[in-house]
């Protein structure tokens, strides 16, 4: 218990758990898990054959975070800003960093 050096005992042993639960312990080694360590350099760049991607054509002035150095090379093109909400969005993106609430939910 918490007030002594000992952990509370578990109801089932490892062998009992292995027998009851398919795959118990298959990823037992904490170092042998897909996201361990967090940063793992990928020599093959996961299939990318570029160091910096080609740039997607910008068909209208695409709003972007001022925390970015430039417009990202690839971006979504759904629902371009339009109307009054579009004006507010464009102004907000131009003026405020990401820590400042910028736009409403719709």
């Amino acid at each position: 218990m918490a007030y002594t050096p000992h952990r509370p005992p578990l109801a089932e042993s490892a062998d009992q758990l292995r027998a009851r639960i398919p795959g118990w312990g298959a990823d037992l080694d904490p170092k042998d898990r897909p996201s361990v360590p967090k940063l793992q350099f990928r020599e093959d760049l996961t299939g990318a054959h570029w160091e910096f991607p080609d740039r997607q054509p910008e068909k209208w002035p695409r709003e972007r975070s001022i925390e970015h150095k430039f417009l990202t090379p690839v971006f979504g093109t759904a629902c371009p800003p339009k109307g009054l909400s579009g004006v507010l969005r464009k102004l907000s993106y131009r003026r405020y960093s990401e820590g400042v609430p910028r736009t409403g939910c719709c």
């Binding site: 218990m1 990928r42 709003e63 971006f75 979504g76 759904a78």
Partner: protein, 382 residues
């Protein structure tokens, strides 16, 4: 083509839209054969995510057939059956080069704090999603993978987000043999996190929710002990009692922004949008673990601040670990686990809706009707 379209909070419908076109040399256009509604889609549906625009098509869990490829695509060809991770990522930025695909810096101009996600508002890059007949898939040489011959389609579609996110959540918990693991939330992600905790050697796995049918699934699918928090005055005290007052070794928040269980948190987040989310589950996680424990967060929150108990987290010496899941990094191991029968993702599927009836799907999933755990969306062209 037919596509789900957002018309405002709690309002969606299916409309005609143009089939997406190649906008970048490494794009592919994928004809969607199966999609899904994710619990995090409900945050959009409820109007919780900033810059969710009227006219957007949601959907970040989908599989399909390659319909068209851009001029620089080498790894895919027309007709290939592919599964597409929910992350849009370039493979080559500082973050992708180190395996943090969910944190890609080259795909989301709207924010540096989050990568690109299909159909997940302009906060996540402004990409239309896969609850439609066709979808644009950027960086086709990097993200998608061929669906193995032996894999069921429903297993494949759940491997595009829910399953890897749950598995990743268990990894973030840094579980070691014999750990007591508490999972908050018995939705698909929480159920997989609980199941995955056993793979990592947990000695005891507890799942907490307030929906009895989901707790039943936690017992059958994840072999977990369950607690319905509505049956206790204080679920944190209950967790202390059941661990001989030590607290759990690991807690996983698989709920995120719309947690129930605290009226004030609910009102200030879901109703008045004053917080990025209601961190009830996260605060319970912080308070339920022992000192020096690890809390893993895979529930989604909005970019605004949330009233999280950092004082308790600091005083207890907790390690808080969190991220959107880098899906493709999980796939080789998860494919093994599925093939070995350690995980059967399609067991989570409870409902199948034609795309034309997706509004009903959202309603049923959102209102937790009819025992809904995971709804699948079937486009009419499939």
């Amino acid at each position: 083509m037919r596509a789900m379209v957002y018309r405002g909070p709690y309002k969606i419908r299916v409309e005609e839209k143009d089939i997406p076109s190649i906008e970048h040399p490494n794009d592919a256009i994928v004809r969607v054969t199966l999609g899904a509604i994710c619990g995090s889609d409900l945050h959009l549906y409820h109007g919780m995510m900033p810059d969710t625009r009227v006219g957007m098509t949601f959907g970040h869990e989908f599989i399909g057939v390659v319909h068209e490829v851009g001029s620089s695509v080498r790894n895919l060809k027309v007709g290939d059956r592919v599964m597409v991770p929910f992350n849009i990522f370039c493979g080559s930025c500082w973050f992708c080069a180190r395996g943090l695909y969910s944190n890609c810096h080259n795909v989301n101009p709207n924010a540096t704090a989050v990568g690109g996600i299909y159909g997940y508002s302009h906060t996540c890059g402004g990409y239309d999603g896969g609850q439609s007949q066709f979808v644009r898939v950027p960086f086709a040489d990097v993200g998608p993978a061929l669906i193995p011959e032996w894999m069921d389609d429903e297993d494949a579609v759940l491997l595009t987000d829910a399953v890897p996110t749950g598995y990743f959540g268990a990894q973030l918990g840094e579980i070691v043999e014999g750990d007591v693991v508490v999972v908050f939330g018995a939705g698909p992600v929480g159920l997989v996190a609980a199941r995955s905790a056993w793979l990592m050697g947990a000695g005891r796995v507890i799942v907490i929710d307030h929906l009895e049918y989901r707790l039943e699934k936690a017992r059958s699918f994840a072999h977990a002990e369950t607690y319905n928090f509505t049956e206790y005055d204080d679920i944190v005290v209950e967790m202390k009692k059941t661990t001989d007052h030590l607290g759990a070794d690991v807690a996983i928040d698989a709920v995120g922004a719309e947690a129930d269980g605290n009226f004030l948190q609910h009102v200030t987040s879901a109703k008045f949008k004053l917080q990025g989310g209601s961190p009830v589950a996260l605060n319970w996680a912080i308070d339920s673990v022992r000192k020096g424990a690890t809390v893993s967060v895979v529930g989604a929150y909005g970019p605004l601040f949330s009233a999280v108990k950092f004082g308790d987290a600091m005083n207890k010496g907790l390690t808080l670990r969190m991220n959107q899941c880098p899906v493709k990094r999980q796939w080789p191991r998860l494919f093994e686990h599925v093939r070995n029968g350690y995980l059967k993702p399609s067991e989570l599927v409870t409902h199948r809706f034609p795309l034309e009836h997706i509004a009903e799907g959202y309603h049923v999933f959102s209102a937790k009707l009819d025992g809904c755990i995971k709804p699948i969306v079937v486009p009419s062209a499939a």
